[in-house]
Amino acid sequence: MPVTFSSREIEAGERRWSRGVSVAIKNVSIAFGGRTVLENFDVEIPAGEFVAIVGRSGCGKSTLLRSVAGLETPQSGTIALGNVAEYVAGHNGEPDVRVMFQDSRLLPWRRVLPNVMLGLEPALIPQARKVLAQVGLGERANDWPATLSGGQRQRVALARALVHDPNLLLLDEPLGSLDALTRIEMQQLIEDVWRSRGFTAMLVTHDVAEAVSLADRVILIEGGRVALDEVVNIPRPRTRGSARFAALEERILDRVLQRRPVVEEPW
């Protein structure tokens, strides 16, 4: 009988040659004004993996992401990013980390293309146009951000991150303020981009269905620690209607809400 691999193993194998970097979070503690947000937090994320971090509001999931981005400094512990693989063209050893925030944070005084070009040399304009076309907004390059819809703005924010060819993409509830249909479209887009480019992705979300549909692995934070670390073993592309999907979503949701699972009594 031939050896079979789970889809996750196959994908990990494909992504061995990806441009992602590993993330090692060790013993990280963060407190704000005496209130502990994360306590001795440990998580290892292999290169190229898509990790979703879920939890109730204020559980510290955003803080974790912001610390990985370097926007918060932990009181103790280390956050180490792996090296960029040598074959990756144009790398200088320093991994490129980009953040997508809940709000698009586009500069309202720059048109769409110049927003994507933020911090880049003018020589990269063709590259920026290409990425803008990839997110479906090639036609809107010369528009002001104020004329775009919320979903379109997040697409521009995604393009702005992607044009740097990140090794690690941090997504801080980027779809939280979008309507349900736009959100599903954006999830599809993010998954496609991640699969084609193979960066490492960390997604903070309060939407368990979103976590299950996108991530290789879902981590639940509770009381400043990892309360659940669940591998999503559902082959991509995933369909929300499937029984496995629903069961996993239900299980994680139960844990988040601390509902006792219904156990069949033996007598």
Partner: protein, 271 residues
Amino acid sequence: MNERQKNPAMNTQLRPSILAKRALPWAVPIALLIVWQWASSVGVLPSRFLPSPRAVVSSFIALSASGELWMHVRVSTLRALSGFVVGGGVGLMLGLLTASLNWAEILLDTTIQMVRNVPPLALIPLVILWFGIDESAKLFLVSLGVFFPVYINTFHGIRSVDRGLLEMGRTYGLSGWSLYREIILPGALPSILVGVRFSLGLMWVILIVAETISARSGIGYMTMNAREFMQTDVMVVGILLYAILGKLADLLAKGLERYWLRWNPAYQAAR
């Protein structure tokens, strides 16, 4: 293209409504003018209180034909603008400085706030003593007056730049001057322009008072001089000139807002 744009009949119907929209702001001034002329002609309004509009117009024509009017307008405008440039420039620079550097705020802001509460016009006796009644006195008063609105609004604008954008800028490698140029200055610009608009109004107010008290030329001087000879028509010409010049300054400020803040839907020209 939809049906409405294709149909020429609709276009001709639209035109009068645009014209009406343009004319509407002038309806009240014109109505006032008509009432004023009527009151003067029937004698309700004696000319030693207020001359009739026709007298004002003819005096305007006479004054501009002799070139006297333009000389005064030129002198006043030059004073106003140079005072604005000096005071506004210093206000902008100091506002940027105190808003950006903590030590500068600690060092300077208290002093500036104290001086701000002194009305510039209260300094007139002292200013006459210091500078006499020549140009530097007017320049000083106007500069001082326009300094504060620009200073305060620049400070406020820099301080209220969206922190999310600053954070985003830093994650994209902006720092120091590039952060200033790309995010802080454009973010503060709407507030700075509010200060500029305030200043342009204040600029004329202060200049009028300064010119009526101590001057040998300028619109204020012309008006005060006319009072000596009870030339009410010349006085009204002077007052109307201030109104027109003030409106022009405001138009200029609005134009700057429309150009610099064209990204902001709140400042886009009505179509």
